[in-house]
Structures are given as C-alpha cells and as structure tokens.
Symmetry: C2
Subunit: 171 residues, 2 copies
DNA sequence: CTTGGAAAGTCAACAAGGCTGACATAAACT
DNA sequence: AGTTTATGTCAGCCTTGTTGACTTTCCAAG
C-alpha cells in the first residue's frame, strides 16, 4: 500500500530522496500502530497478574542483566527512583525479584529474578518474540536487516541526545 | 553490532531461521528504545504547551483526516470516549480544534484543526519527521524499504487481532 | 408519530505510573 | 569527622487510561 517509491529505489543505493513528507508521515504512523501491536500481548498477560508495563520493563532488564543495581536500572529506564521503587517493591513482595545487598558495596542492591519471576519473564518474552518472529518471517531476511538498521539509527539518536544534552531525563 | 546473521542470509530468501531468541530480544529492545526516541521531541514540545501525548495523537489524526468524527477518532486511537473527550475538550477550549455539528447527522461532531492547531501540528510533525528523515538517511533506501515492510507486518498483526477478537479494546 | 436505540457528551470515582520535594539510613570516601 | 552516594520512603500532584450512570439529540423502524 505504501512502499512503492521505496522499493523502486532498491539497488540504486544513492540518497536521491524519496523522502516526501507523506512518506515520512506513513512511517510515523506505522511506528505508532506497530508499537501498539508490539505491546499488546504482554499488556494482556500482565493484566492477569495485576501488573503494568512498568513491571514488564523492570523484569525484562533484570533478566537481561542479572545482578544489575537499582541505579543501573534507573538510568536504563529513564524514570525516577520513586517511580521504579514502587514497581520494584511489589515485585519483591510478590517474590518475583530478589534484591540482594551488595558484597563489595553494601549500599547497592543487586537485582535478580526468582524462579517465579523468571517464569513470568518467559511468558512475556515468548509472546513478544512470537509476534516479532511472525513479522520477521512474513517480511523476510532482507527486510529484517533493514528494519534493524533503521531502528538502530533511531536508538542512536536518543543515546546521543541523552549524553549531549546532559540527560535531562524523560518527560 | 547485530545484523551479522541477517545479512549473511541476504539473497538466499529461504526461511532457514536466523531468528535466535537473542536476535529477537535485540529487536524487542530496539523497538523499546527507538520508540522512546521517536516520541522524545514531541513530548518536549508538548510540555511547553501543557499537553501530553494524548493531545498529540488527537491532533495528528484530525490533521490527517480533517472532518473526522469523534467516533472515528475513538476507534483509531483505541481509547474510551471519556478519555478522548477530556483531551478534545481542552483542545477546543484552547482554540486548537474546531468541533462542528454534522450537517447530515447532527449528532455527529466533525473535527478540524484551527489555524492555531495546524501550527502546533506542524511544529510537532516537523520534529518527528526530522528524526525519521535522519534515521532513514543514515540507514539508506534499502534499509528503509525493509523497515517499512516489517512495520507493516506488525501493524497488520494488530489490525487482524482487533477484528478477530471482537476488538475488546486496549489495556 | 411514537418510541427504541445510536451518537455524543457529562459527571464522578478510581488506578497506574509518571513527576517533585523532603527526609532517613547506611556505607563509602576524603 | 564530615561529605557524598545509593537506596528507600512519605506525601502530593499530573496525565491518561478505566467503569458506571445519566442526559441530550435525533435517526429510523414499527
């Protein structure tokens, strides 16, 4: 429906710009709807547990980097400690996350998923991976490579800004 | 940093899967960070006006489809009428949106941006387009084509679900 | 022409998850 | 000893989502 111009450019490789405002607008909307789809499955699962996206994010990054400190998590997620703490507290209370006092620096708390937490993580990430896999499969390997490339550019933009602007935080 | 496997597959076109869980996880995280970057500029602009993302979304879709009804907007945005109404009310009060009673069906309200509203829309979409354009430029035309293809797959997933599941709405 | 129901709006109450500010504690650093 | 750092916590505010109940308008079918 929309990638006519883009596909016509394939193989030319020059930056002769097919980037009309309308093309960009479609990209913007695609991001909006795709992101909604992307979070839909986890959202439904979390609802059953009485959790929200904030819990999902915490669980995800604790799983990715076991033993991460609260401060680490804070800067990755870009929220205030009060906000994160609220979430973290319920996760510890519900025995999904284990918060261990640091050995070298006892002020720090190192965060780990409990078996129960790892279970929920698997459930959530499996749903999301299935989505992603289906989209990837339908789009094909070449498209996936391009997808990753563009997303990485968008990520870099934000990382760059965060450090250049002194990281005045998220809205 | 990540598309090694994917690029290796290029040209083979078969679905011999390069889709390891770790590759998928990286895609998932890229979506998270990219989306954050994607909304960062508008969020900053909106803050100055005392608005939030909900206002942005309303403004965007009214601009895209001038004269759209409240119900149309409702189903596109996937929120409750009470939630949308609160946003719409402030936009009308602040003279950014014009709500005209329908001529054929007078129960309907048709929504238009006022010149002032169009001004804010331009400011917001310009920031977002610049982001998108920069990412597209840096990634190149082929990557953009792939990006669009994958996003469209993800959009379709959600559209399909919405109608199959009877559209039980967003969380 | 009456009435049922759809479309839109309003009011009230609530929850999640952001935010700020202030303050407490313990540990580490100087 | 005094300062800084990491964390936690209390209180209060905002946005944006939710339900439920109710009204007004008005189309359309009986």
């Amino acid at each position: 429906m929309a990638d006519r111009n883009a596909t016509n450019m394939k193989g030319r490789g020059e930056s002769l710009l097919f980037l009309t405002d309308d093309q960009l607008r479609r990209g913007i909307e695609a991001m909006f709807f795709a992101y909604r789809g992307f979070t839909a499955d986890p959202d439904r699962i979390l609802q059953d547990y009485g959790y929200g996206r904030a819990h999902h994010r915490a669980i995800h990054f604790i799983n990715r980097t076991p033993g991460t400190t609260v401060n680490n998590l804070l800067s990755i997620l870009g929220v205030t400690k009060q906000s994160l703490n609220r979430v973290l507290r319920t996760l510890v209370e519900d025995d999904l996350v284990d918060s261990r006092v640091g050995t070298r620096d006892k002020r720090e708390r190192h965060l780990f998923l409990t078996p129960k937490g790892a279970g929920l993580e698997r459930e959530l990430s499996e749903a999301q991976r299935n989505r992603m896999r289906d989209a990837y499969r339908a789009a094909g390997p070449e498209a996936v490579a391009g997808f990753r490339t563009v997303l990485e550019q968008m990520m870099n933009q934000e990382m760059r800004r965060q450090y250049l602007d002194g990281g005045d935080g998220p809205r």
